[in-house]
């Protein structure tokens, strides 16, 4: 995500690093809200009429899918932050 990885973290790098972090957080939280509040609650009525294998899509998101996506989101965040930490040279 970083355009120009810096060697010495000055205050400026901290700001750029924080922006990259915020951007990633926002993207992942949009997905988080979409699968839980979106697919399983606000879109539940339309999704009720879409079949997903033997059950309806809303029920799948509500009782299985959203939780599976949550787990994936956290590991994606951890993995991508490993790279961002290194790109901005703020890793431990």
């Amino acid at each position: 995500m970083a355009d120009e990885p810096q060697v010495n973290p000055s205050k400026g790098d901290g700001v750029a690093y924080w922006k990259a972090n915020l951007r990633l957080i926002i993207i992942l939280l949009i997905i988080w809200a979409a699968v839980s509040y979106g697919a399983a609650i606000f879109l539940a009525n339309p999704f009720y009429n879409i079949k997903f294998f033997q059950i309806n899509l809303a029920f799948w998101f509500a009782h299985q899918g959203s939780m599976i996506v949550f787990v994936i989101l956290i590991f994606v965040y951890a993995k991508m932050m490993d790279k961002i930490d290194r790109d901005y040279d703020v890793h431990e």
């Binding site: 973290p9 205050k11 901290g14 690093y17 924080w18 972090n21 957080i25 992942l28 939280l29 988080w32 839980s36 509040y37 399983a40 609650i41 606000f42 539940a44 009525n45 009720y48 997903f52 294998f53 033997q54 059950i55 309806n56 809303a58 029920f59 799948w60 509500a62 009782h63 299985q64 959203s66 939780m67 599976i68 949550f70 787990v71 989101l73 956290i74 590991f75 965040y77 951890a78 932050m81 490993d82 930490d85 703020v90 890793h91 431990e92």
Partner: protein, 557 residues
């Protein structure tokens, strides 16, 4: 060998293991006592967090609750897992970088105020104490269900075990026993689930059987025919807005519970805190994606085995007699036609199934060996004990560290602080045990309370403390007090004083969402009207945002 003897043996072996692990991990420093010396590997902390998180209620009651709620059960499933995404992205890494011992430590330091520290410590004690009473009760109930021991004695046994490893080992002892307890509870949950999935659908993997077999449409039809709710249809009972509010309140409540937050202080680095949240949710999701499957299989199986039979036919099932004795299963041929019928109406229904039976009876219904029944008892105890231990540590650290050491006697030496910590955890065990034996009327309502208060008090001020550099002590103190005060007032008024619900009939469980919004708004408005925080606090915020410099682990295992 009888089931009872087997249960004693299995429970005895697991308890001996917990005591042994507690003994191996005894500690001699406050850092070891409060945060396990920041030396717990990410995956082990994940397992410990999962055990900490999943209580007796998750283990015994949740699948049953879902089987009666149907689709709407999603607010428990998503509400009690979705908060981990917030924890991993918004809280855990930064609190680990901050790197002290407790949640009030962060609130007090970030808001440069002992008032904020005390308010936070009181919130932490209140949330944890209400929650832990239910856990000790859970220990007593498991003992009485499986071993016929009076509930009071069951609670006493639980107190002895918990105080042994918690007093001796503090966070370090608790962490490693929790890892063992997670292993016991997940095996105990999955074995009967696989068996019943196989019997009912022919597919041994519960999650796959739920989606790819025709069991859900069959149960849906069966329930509709009997006049019960259509199982897979959204928003029967509670409406869309209410389900949304409850889900949000449980999610942000999860992310604000102090006994979960402090677990992320125990890992060696910021990076480990992120992965550890992922492991924790993976371990939790293993149980949480299985629970809705058990709910469907067991409900379908029970209705099929019981509905439309004569009372004599029902009595021929050997598990029926046992559960009838415990009063979790009741039959009453109301209309006297010689056949038992399940209906959706209270006055014509002839088969009453307690929700707890969904999990507890599964091994017998699936005709599994008595060892599995004994294992389920051990699993329920593991779930209750591990959650109780985590909560007790928070109570102890709030009293001994936040209030005694940080406020009353900052000159106390290491040995004295450790001693006070041990004494306080013992006192907390006594309190929890007392409430377990003589539960006050509100224990059943505790979930709404603990989550609502955590959501309305901690979550907003911690988030803002990290993400808003301008946030100051005035904002945080007013925010916490208003958020918590409003939530407390509403829950007490609505649940106990007969107050009519406000805001479009939102349930007490969902009110934490409003409490959190009030807290956020109050923080923002008040902080903008008062002076910004001093420069050293702004530097502190900048430092928690950067992983480097989190410090090396003090202890390695």
């Amino acid at each position: 060998m009888s089931v009872e003897v087997l249960t004693y043996i299995i429970v005895g072996i697991t308890f001996a293991a917990y005591i042994y692990i507690g003994y191996l991990n005894r500690v001699g420093t406050t850092s070891g006592f409060y945060v396990a010396g920041h030396g717990v590997p990410a995956i082990a902390n994940g397992a410990a967090t999962a055990a900490d998180w999943m209580s007796a209620a998750s283990f015994i009651s949740m699948a049953g609750l879902i089987s009666f709620l149907g689709y709407n059960g999603t607010f428990y499933l998503m509400g009690w897992t979705g908060g981990y995404v917030l924890l991993a992205l918004l809280l855990a890494p930064y609190l680990r970088k901050f790197g002290k011992y407790t949640v009030p430590d962060f609130v007090g330091d970030r808001y440069y105020s002992n008032t904020a520290r005390v308010v936070a410590a009181i919130c932490a004690i209140f949330v944890s104490l209400t929650y832990v009473a239910g856990q000790m009760r859970g220990v007593g109930i498991v003992f009485s269900r499986f071993l016929g021991l009076p509930i009071g004695w069951g609670v006493v046994v639980g107190m002895v075990i918990v105080s042994f490893f918690a007093v001796l080992g503090g966070m370090k002892g608790i962490t490693w026993t929790q890892v063992a307890q997670y292993s016991v509870l997940i095996c105990a949950y999955l074995i009967p689930a696989v068996a019943i999935a196989w019997i009912v659908t022919g597919n041994p993997i519960p999650q796959l059987a739920l989606t790819f077999s025709d069991i859900v449409p069959k149960l849906n039809q069966l329930q509709a025919d009997l006049g019960l709710i259509e199982y897979a249809k959204p928003f029967q009972g509670k409406g869309m807005l209410d389900v949304f509010m409850i889900t949000v309140a449980l999610m942000i409540g999860t992310a604000g519970l102090p006994h979960i937050i402090v677990r992320f202080y125990t890992v060696p680095s910021v990076r480990a805190a992120r992965y550890s949240a992922g492991w924790a949710l993976l371990f939790i999701a293993l149980l949480y994606t299985t629970a809705p499957a058990i709910a469907v299989f067991a409900k379908y199986n029970l209705i099929n085995e019981l509905n439309g039979k004569t009372p004599a036919q029902v009595q021929e099932l050997d598990w029926v007699q046992k559960w009838e004795e415990t009063k979790l299963l009741k039959f009453d041929d109301v209309n006297g036609d010689g056949v038992l019928n399940m209906t959706g109406e209270a006055d014509t229904n002839e088969i009453t199934i307690d929700r707890d039976i969904i999990v507890l009876s599964t091994p017998e219904v699936a005709k599994l060996s008595p060892i599995v029944i004994a294992l389920v008892a051990a699993g329920g105890l593991a779930a209750a004990l591990s959650t109780a231990a985590g909560l007790l540590l928070v109570i102890s650290s709030s009293l001994a560290h936040d209030i005694y050491y940080r406020l009353i006697n900052p000159n106390a030496n290491e040995a004295r602080r450790l001693l006070i910590g041990r004494i306080m955890i013992f006192v907390a065990v006594m309190f929890a045990g007392y409430f377990g034996i003589k539960p006050p009327g509100f224990v059943a309502q505790v979930v709404a309370f603990a989550f609502g208060l955590a959501a309305a008090s901690f979550f907003p001020v911690i988030i803002l403390g990290i993400f808003d550099k301008r946030m100051n002590k005035e904002g945080a103190i007013v925010g916490m007090i208003l958020g918590m005060g409003f939530t407390m007032f509403y829950i007490i008024g609505n649940r106990f004083a007969g107050m009519d619900p406000w805001f479009f009939n939102v349930s007490a469980e969902g009110i934490g969402t409003f409490g959190a919004v009030i807290n956020f708004v109050a923080c923002f408005v008040v902080s903008r009207l008062t002076p910004p925080p001093p420069p050293e606090i702004q530097e502190l915020v900048e430092s928690v945002r950067i992983p480097r410099g989190s410090g090396v682990a003090i202890e390695h295992y």
